[in-house]
């Protein structure tokens, strides 16, 4: 049966489709207790997603256009639902949905270009730990007895450490911006830390010229001022480079601590213990670790044993930059051929970006019904 496959080629039909329909209804019921069921247009305006994610989303979503604006075949439900919720002006809201999403794949890839995604989004909860646990609980209910391995993480931990670094706001902003690009993030840590002297030395001539007031003359000699980025912007950045060169390197202990936070891995309770140890020498981490502690308590209160959750400090860093707190995922045990069966997390910042600065706390999760069906039917 075509619908038995995790990634049907072109059609779903017959008994397989009926089973899939029943499975979707069960998943939506588990995710959506008390939530509004929402359907979204398959074609979404491209500009919102392009502005959020830039060229990365262009490589991952189908972009199309007629004589009007560019459109995108919905690659995800979360962003349009955030937009929908922010338009209501309400503080609270809970939404559940299920429908196809479309993702571009590389040539030769056998990953699905169209698949169902069911999900829930919870907005405006007063108690973030409880809301995080609630999102996870609903997703686990949807997964039922399926053999999955659960991974959790918390991007709020490294973000809290970055905020507490004893350094310039410019450096903190640059590090926050690249948290979701691990290789680049590591390079930035080096440029602000161990290699700061080399970087400053490499720019010594330029910095000296700026300090001597010769920046304008250098710039004029280099070429005509073409393009939308003006001479004042070049001068501004030169001034920032001068300040950066004069700023002491990051404390090696803080850099090591931050890398250690990102490297923590193990059962969630043990990981929390390790984070508390690191927090003794690392400013900013203790309050974030306390939030993780509260979340694990809330998760336990909903009948999930925290020891069953594997914690990974870097989990969620290679997805689209979107989650900024609790993150979780479920992978099919012993089935590397299947995509992740479920995932989710907290995305407070995204609501502020889409809400024009007015954000609400938000957490959600998704399940892939076809992959789940393939896993559970394969297991029986």
């Amino acid at each position: 049966m075509v619908a038995d496959r995790p990634c049907p080629h072109a059609a779903r039909l017959g008994p397989g489709l009926a089973r899939l329909g029943a499975e979707v209804a069960r998943i939506v019921a588990a995710l959506g207790r008390g939530a509004d069921y929402v359907e979204l247009a398959a074609l979404q305006p491209a500009d919102v997603l392009l502005d959020l994610y830039g060229e990365d989303i262009r490589a991952r979503a189908f972009v199309t256009a007629d004589d009007g604006a560019e459109m995108m075949l919905r690659p995800d439900f979360t962003v349009p639902i955030v937009g929908l919720h922010m338009e209501t002006g309400r503080a609270r809201g809970a939404y559940v949905y299920c429908g196809p999403v479309w993702r571009r794949q590389d040539g030769g890839s056998d990953r699905a270009r169209e698949y169902l995604q069911a999900g829930v989004e919870l907005f405006g909860a007063d108690d973030p730990a409880a809301a995080d646990a609630e999102a996870l609980r609903r997703v686990l209910d949807a997964l039922g007895e399926a053999p999955v391995d659960l991974v959790v993480g918390d991007l709020g931990l490294p973000l809290a450490v970055i905020d507490a670094l004893d350094t310039t706001d410019a450096r903190k902003a640059a590090l926050r911006r690249h948290l979701w690009r691990p290789a680049r993030f590591h390079v930035m840590l080096e440029r602000y830390g161990a290699r700061q002297g080399d970087v400053a030395a490499g720019r010594a001539g330029l910095i000296a010229a700026v300090a001597a007031g010769r920046a304008g003359a250098l710039m004029a000699a280099a070429g005509a001022p073409v393009g939308a980025r003006g001479e004042d912007e070049v001068l501004d950045r030169l001034e920032r480079l001068r300040i950066e060169a004069a700023t002491p390197p990051l404390d090696p202990a803080a850099v090591a601590g931050l890398e250690a936070v990102l490297g923590v891995a193990g059962p969630a309770p043990a990981a929390l213990g390790r984070l508390r140890e690191i927090a003794r020498g690392l400013p900013g981490l203790a309050p974030a670790a306390a939030r993780l502690d509260a979340r694990l308590d809330a998760i336990a209160a909903r009948g999930v044993e925290p020891g069953e959750l594997r914690f990974e400090g870097s989990f969620g860093r290679t997805t689209l930059e979107y989650y900024d707190g609790f993150v979780f995922g479920a992978v099919a045990r012993g089935r590397p051929d299947l995509p992740p069966i479920a995932s989710g997390g907290r995305y407070d910042t995204l609501t502020a970006i889409l809400g024009g600065g007015r954000g609400v706390p938000a957490v959600g999760g998704i399940v892939r019904p076809e992959a789940l069906a393939a896993l559970t039917e394969g297991a029986t």
């Binding site: 392009l50 502005d51 830039g54 060229e55 990365d56 262009r58 490589a59 590389d106 040539g107 030769g108 902003a173 640059a174 911006r177 690249h178 690009r181 290789a183 680049r184 993030f185 390079v187 440029r191 330029l206 920046a215 250098l218 710039m219 004029a220 280099a222 070429g223 005509a224 001022p225 073409v226 393009g227 939308a228 980025r229 001479e231 912007e233 070049v234 501004d236 950045r237 030169l238 480079l241």
Partner: protein, 236 residues
């Protein structure tokens, strides 16, 4: 049967291709007047000739409609996803040199490398409320290169005509384009970033891995490789 060889249908690339084969004892003669897209091969009974726009040759090789083809590495890497699975480079031909580069206004004395460009993109977005635009005809290669260097907050824009002029024309803030001498870049007040060379491209003889593999075809390939003095073909 014969192996179908696609070569550029006009211009200097065609002249140099003909000279390259000629130096290896294979004469390519254009039949009819200059604008007619036909020709024949002498001195290599295993070949038949097809004249195509250089830009069409990568797609024809990837589809298996050509067995062999001469085109630029830049076009192959841009247009054919996972190109190495579908095409094999038989010989770099020593002409048609072009570098694909990232270039920005020369007066940006604060920008030397891709790391600087990334920092500028962040500041530009904060100031202008939109992403820094990079004009190019090479979207795939540009996007992969920018991702590898961890550049964020940019947007690629298609350049219809002369990419080098897009900064001056306020259609973009930087460009990704091919250059051979750098003169056009300088004329447009642009400068290549220190680590901004994406690809050093040249005309290359490719064979298709997609074309159906038969003993006869393998024999023809081996005969051609011997004739052209190439390494024996990899097991196709």
């Amino acid at each position: 049967m014969r192996l179908k060889l696609g070569i550029p249908s006009k211009g200097r690339l065609q002249d140099e291709t003909i000279a390259w084969f000629g130096a290896r004892g294979v004469t390519i003669a254009r039949s009819g007047a200059g604008r007619e897209y036909a020709g024949r091969v002498e001195g290599a009974p295993e070949l038949s000739l097809v004249l195509l726009a250089a830009a069409e040759i990568p797609g024809e090789l990837a589809a298996g409609r050509l067995d062999l083809g001469v085109t630029g590495q830049d076009l192959v890497r841009e247009e054919i996803p996972s190109w190495a699975e579908r095409l094999e480079e038989l010989a770099e031909m020593g002409f048609g040199f072009a570098d694909l580069v990232v270039a920005a206004p020369a007066f940006w004395i604060d920008v030397r490398d891709m790391s600087d460009l990334d920092a500028v993109a962040a500041a530009f977005r904060a100031r202008h409320g939109r992403r820094l635009r990079v004009a190019t005809k090479y979207r795939r290669l540009a996007r992969e290169f920018f991702r590898r260097h961890g550049v964020a907050d940019y947007a690629l824009v298609d350049s219809a005509g002369a990419t080098e002029a897009s900064v001056k024309n306020l259609a973009a803030e930087a460009i990704v384009d091919i250059t051979s001498t750098g003169e056009t870049l300088r004329d447009n007040h642009l400068r290549v970033l220190d680590d901004g060379v994406i690809l050093r491209s040249q005309a290359t003889l490719y064979s298709s891995r997609v074309a159906r593999d038969t003993p006869e075809r393998r024999a023809l390939r081996a005969a051609l490789s011997a004739r052209l003095g190439l390494a024996a073909p990899a097991s196709a």
